[in-house]
Symmetry: C2
Subunit: 459 residues, 2 copies
Amino acid sequence: MKSFQLLLLALIVWAPLVSLQGQPSDSVAIRRIAEEVLRHGRAYENLRILCKQVGPRLSGSPGAERAVQETARMLQEAGADTVWLQPCQVPHWVRGTGESSYVYLASGRRRPLQAVALGNSVGTPAKGVRGQVVEVRDFAELDRLGRPGVAGRIVFYNYPMDPTQVQTFRAYGQAGAYRGNGPSMAAKYGAVGVVIRSLASNVDAYPHTGSTRYNDSFPKLPAVTISTRDAEQLSAELRSGQVRELWFRTTAEMLPDVTSYNVVGEIRGTDFPDEVITVGGHLDSWDLGEGAHDDGAGCVQSIEVLRVMKALGIRPRRTIRAVMFMNEENGLRGGLAYAEAAKKDGKKHLFALESDAGGFTPRGFGFSGTPAQYQQFLSWRSLFQPYGASEFVNGGGGADIGPMRPLGTALSGFTPDSQRYFDVHHAASDVFEAVSPRELHLGAGVMAGLVYLVSQHGL
Amino acid sequence: MKSFQLLLLALIVWAPLVSLQGQPSDSVAIRRIAEEVLRHGRAYENLRILCKQVGPRLSGSPGAERAVQETARMLQEAGADTVWLQPCQVPHWVRGTGESSYVYLASGRRRPLQAVALGNSVGTPAKGVRGQVVEVRDFAELDRLGRPGVAGRIVFYNYPMDPTQVQTFRAYGQAGAYRGNGPSMAAKYGAVGVVIRSLASNVDAYPHTGSTRYNDSFPKLPAVTISTRDAEQLSAELRSGQVRELWFRTTAEMLPDVTSYNVVGEIRGTDFPDEVITVGGHLDSWDLGEGAHDDGAGCVQSIEVLRVMKALGIRPRRTIRAVMFMNEENGLRGGLAYAEAAKKDGKKHLFALESDAGGFTPRGFGFSGTPAQYQQFLSWRSLFQPYGASEFVNGGGGADIGPMRPLGTALSGFTPDSQRYFDVHHAASDVFEAVSPRELHLGAGVMAGLVYLVSQHGL
């Protein structure tokens, strides 16, 4: 009994010592990782290539295919043991080149309006759609108007992102309902077309596109989005009775699915090669900009995670994969294909980390796992304080890694600061120049730090 | 004795209740403040005026005088009870218009170099200075070269900001020694001129100016700074023996002091009007850019602190002053004059908060006060978590409010994220467009929150 008590005492005394011994070496490793990225990071240069040499990368487009080749090359260059392409069938939506729009004013004149088709939307007839405009703030207002107020008209959803939401993703989630469901809800009452106020946190002249989702119970209406500035002007013109009608033509269409690829680069684990850690972003982007923050940043950061391991001679105990997911924006086929393959490969998919919230200064990570895993995750929090990335919250992951949850994979979402994201998201302003190299690299550094911890300690 | 014990118990039980009762109303007040700023903030529009209508505001320049008038107007508009100008004599350094510089190459050709005079530096003779270039990494290297290696030459300090410092101000502090003391240290060994690698965290084509400080024991050398990109090129050319000489001419001179002003706007406290809280930024800026982040941001945020109080009908218990300090950049005369006046006015200067680290997304506050004051400050920390501003650290303040420390004033420095600051600091790239309205306003909101707490609870 006495020796048992001594053992117990020893354990109690030892436990913190062991953990104290563990921590410094983790903190030193993370420091080395962050310094390597801040000093020699390749993410920013890779992002330049992705934005300026490849450009827009909508699923099925030539840009997306070039991006597959380029990131496969980047993964090789980063030192991945193996690089492969994982096929998936992706939707092939095209905007076409004939978009045009006018506001017909009560004065008899017309003024051009920059309206862009929502992703996955159908095109108008060749002659376009024309109708009176009925502005609604939200679905409740639409419901009150009903068929008498809506039929034969163009519905203009003017729901702004709530500026008082400090976490801008919350405001995006609220306003996103109108882009997603607005066309079908308007079709239900007999509208002929839909105009959406762009989901943007600032007031400027860029329309922000993004996917809409048709409900098969209703006709598919052509749907466009206009900039927040144009939305405010149109709303003011409507209030003062200056608008007679609106006309727009879109030439969008959904072509048959085509084959595309996730791009995967792997460093094989030394001790547990069959325990797999995934870190990724999505390779496809909308067609209007360069997809710099969304999600070129997440791709080049994930490549950087592999590069920094190789550059520092770190041999991870568990396998680390950087994955460029295809088709997050308008289908998620890449994420689904990856999870499907993971389900069948006989490996243990321990942990997946996604960066798809922009290349901004790091704030922390969200985490979805078992309570025990969450406690382990929390125990690492202080290691990220020196890098401003210690906001560790329960919940979170990413669209592309979401399909892995049923496999028991713990998921994490990298959380950069969100204040500027929706200024550029899905718009022509999402370009390389909007990304700060230090912010991008600091993010890559903390992502690599978290991946390192899981690779060494498991989860 | 028993009733005393009961009283004690009551106190122990009550204490948390009181504090629990206090907290929700504080958190509600801060929420209202933040929402008001995020919804109706004027700081961004005021910054546009300061950058685009007023422009550069170097002490003694016409821009600085226009800025005095404009911000006085803004303070009136914000609803200050009283607005006044507090005179101070400021140095009047002018760059002149004749700056020019060439690198003379071994090939016999010459190439132009964009070199700009350091603030407060003397001009060259009319024919400029010309000499061989001796590049040093640091003062140790300069000392090793000594007079034999330096005399008659132009010293090129090529000390980069350390990219691995996550807090970029630390890297700035290290590298700043060369801008501040480099000219006099080179003069000590008989150099004829000095070129400094710009204090910038990125590699681009903008020279970043800033003050130098002459040591009166040595001749005053003309001193210029070149962009980080030019510094890397010049260094490479020197290594490969391509550089014969460097020539530069500057037309800078220090004119006699002129009268300028701090601009002060005040809301008088209801309960303790003689307890004064100061919140400020500096109104002067370098001449190359628009002084948007440095420190137009701090000025318009401080004005916003008053505006939001008035807009919400908050009547602070203690007096709140927004102060636009003049001459932080090359003399600190405004800060000294303000402290001098505070010393004499018979009021209790309880607390001063400065925003002079850019209009970036908030991280928290630094604090310098008594241990008891620091504990009170820490007790408010969780109130700022919803706004991402809970990094509360011991130490900090600001250059302009520093002279108030001997008065017993507790000092605080607003701490925004520092990753992008030294990309633009003191350079032509510090323009309105580099500021995010949401980041600027969120910062103003948390500053107003902290000022509110001190105004209601004291310190």
